[in-house]
Amino acid sequence: MPTETTTPQTPEVQDRAPVPAAPARVNGRWTGYRQLLWVRLLELKREPEIVFWVFGFPLLLSLGLGIAFRNKPVDTTSVAVVAGNDAAKTMTMLRGSSGHSVIHAAVLEREAALKGFHFGKFDLVVEPNADGSYTYYYDPARPESVLSRAEIDAALQAAAGRKDILATSTQASSEPGSRYIDFLIPGLIGMSLMNSGMWGIGFSLVDMRQRKLMKRFVATPMRRSDFLLAVMSSRLVLMVIEVGLLLVFGMLVFHMPVAGSIMSVVVLGSIGAVAFGGVGLLTACRAQKVESVSGLINLVMMPMWIFSGVFFPYEHFPTMAQPFIKVLPLTALNDALRATILEGASLASQSGRLLVLVLWGGLSFLLALRWFRWT
């Protein structure tokens, strides 16, 4: 029985409904997230500058520093001998000493010798006096200068006839694992995770906000949590590449031994990447202009560049400062990375440092969500 369930359509209304015949696709719960992550990685791949700064720069840095510190054996010493008096004789004595292979000596005028010494070209200036004695010019604040004085003195005394009473022998230790480059590479991994977390998240979010792209996104049914999740996940993908590249580079080029398990390193890297992602997010949560966020990012990173032991051990800083240094996220990450990579420490033994990272990341993330501006 035909019943009128629809109102009779006027031709005009029919005209208005040429619905596309093609089957509509239906997106699942995670389609938006996957697409967001995908375009983020695509965009990154298409930005040569970013690829260089994220991947190339840390490698270059480790290569440069690694070579600089590998080619200078720590125990060579450069000395200047002041011309005149017994300069020639002194040179012969030094050349004849048992330590001659590590002593680089040159004869110079007094003026030039002292100048070279002041500029760090020489560790020590040796001046033979008229009466046959010697005067050393050295800098007690420079360890290599102090060492040099002891070494040259021993060489000259021995050449002049002093006999060693005690028999000693020495063994050089420059095994892979205890050199500067081995100290450096885990530090560079940590620094690189900090850099790309702060710039990759902080800068790119503010850039999207400034371009009103974020506003455009939140005007769609996109889930805001998916967006943030995609941003964080892209960091994790990059982290694997960053850490992997530096480790493999260290192993192949500098024969750096990796004592810990790769799994631990990856877990540590993830926690570090997410922690700095959180800090980056917090830094970027309100800024409207990329200029202002750039300043903020530098301000946040600066203390860690200096204090967190990337290039040299932070134990050099005063004892009083140590507690503050140790709660910085980069310090915790660097220490944990070194312990794992160089000493093979287990993750469990690093729980204190991991806690520091998780707290930084977690708190930053919560605050960032609270204060975040989408427009």
């Binding site: 005209d15 208005r16 409904a17 040429p18 619905v19 596309p20 093609a22 509509a24 696709r25 239906v26 997106n27 389609t31 938006g32 996957r34 697409q35 967001l36 375009v39 695509l42 965009e43 298409r46 930005e47 371009r211 009103k212 792209l213 506003k215 455009r216 996104f217 939140v218 005007a219 769609t220 049914p221 996109m222 889930r223 427009t375």
Partner: protein
């Protein structure tokens, strides 16, 4: 289901002092193309962004198909497609990638190929966004609005800065959407665009609607049908505008640089009287023209200013 867009007594005060919108009410019916017309700073963007749910109003109420934005925003967002006044889409993504990204946010988006075809972007599908012309970028912005298969399209100055041909292309796109039953709200400060494209208009100035209606209706009500524009030489001292106002059939009078503009209903009555009056005053007619009244005249009559200063 309520009307697609409805708002009452909308107010927006920025930073506690800049009153961008001051009590604005609108009701837009299904299938309508509604235009917000107004000069720079009138509050068009502020209004449209509040309606889109991306900006919170200071007070007032917004309803999209009878629902407020706090009820179920995700559902409302499935129903609307927007293009903001200024969005810089990622330059290093291709047109297709950009559309697919936006498509992925909607439950049942339209096929990307259809949208590309409709917006004449098929040829450019694999070009990077950064390499597109201004008109192509604008079409892409509309494409990202249409890919979610919306029922309402919000366009904030979709044709600003485009050449006449690109503008007409966009008008066709809007009309096609309307033909499928969609509702459109757009802002513009192009008179001809408002006149040709919009079924109804609201003229906005200083955050309030100063006139609302269909374009012919507005012109009819506020402008008079015709405009008689003339210039005279000789002493005008002592003759104010009220001389012309008294002529038969004159609705309103204004100065336009050195010329005088009369809005008239029946030029065949006014013009002979005008010539007689000029003669009587001993002046010379330098120039006389008549034209159809436009929305521009409506705006000038209402505010004493031009919509665009160029």
């Amino acid at each position: 289901m309520g009307s697609p867009i409805e708002c009452t007594n909308l107010r927006k005060t920025y930073d506690g002092k800049i009153e961008a919108v001051r009590g604005l009410s609108l009701r837009i019916e299904a299938g309508e193309c509604f235009g917000l017309l107004g000069p720079n700073g009138a509050g068009k963007t502020t209004t449209i962004e509040i309606l889109e749910g991306v900006l919170a109003a200071t007070s007032g109420e917004v309803r999209i198909f009878g629902h407020s934005w706090d009820e179920n925003p995700r559902q409302l967002r499935e129903w609307i497609g927007i293009s903001l006044q200024e969005t810089r889409l990622s330059e290093k993504l291709s047109v297709r990638e950009t559309i697919e990204l936006f498509a992925s946010f909607y439950r049942e988006p339209r096929p990307t190929a259809h949208v590309l075809e409709e917006l004449q972007l098929t040829e450019k599908a694999d070009s990077w966004v950064g390499k597109l012309s201004g008109g192509q970028k604008q079409r892409l912005a509309v494409a990202t609005a249409l890919v979610g298969n919306p029922r309402i399209l919000f366009l904030d100055e979709p044709t600003t800065g485009l050449d006449p041909q690109s503008r007409r292309q966009l008008w066709d796109i809007v009309r096609a959407f309307q033909k499928k039953g969609g509702t459109v709200l757009l802002t513009t400060h192009y008179m001809d665009e408002a006149e040709r494209l919009c079924d109804r208009l609201a003229i906005v100035d200083h955050g309030v609607i100063i006139a609302e209606g269909t374009p012919p209706d507005l012109i009819d009500r506020l402008g008079g049908h015709h405009v008689v524009e003339f210039e005279t030489s000789g002493s005008q001292n002592g003759y104010g505008l009220d001389v012309w106002q008294k002529l038969p059939g004159v609705e309103s009078v204004r100065h336009e640089d050195s010329a005088v503009c009369l809005n008239v209903r029946e030029p065949h009555l006014t013009i002979p009287a005008l010539l007689a009056a000029v003669n009587q005053q001993g002046q010379q007619l330098e120039h006389l023209s008549t034209r159809q009244a436009s929305l521009e005249d409506v705006f000038v009559n209402l505010t004493g200013r031009h919509l665009r200063e160029d």
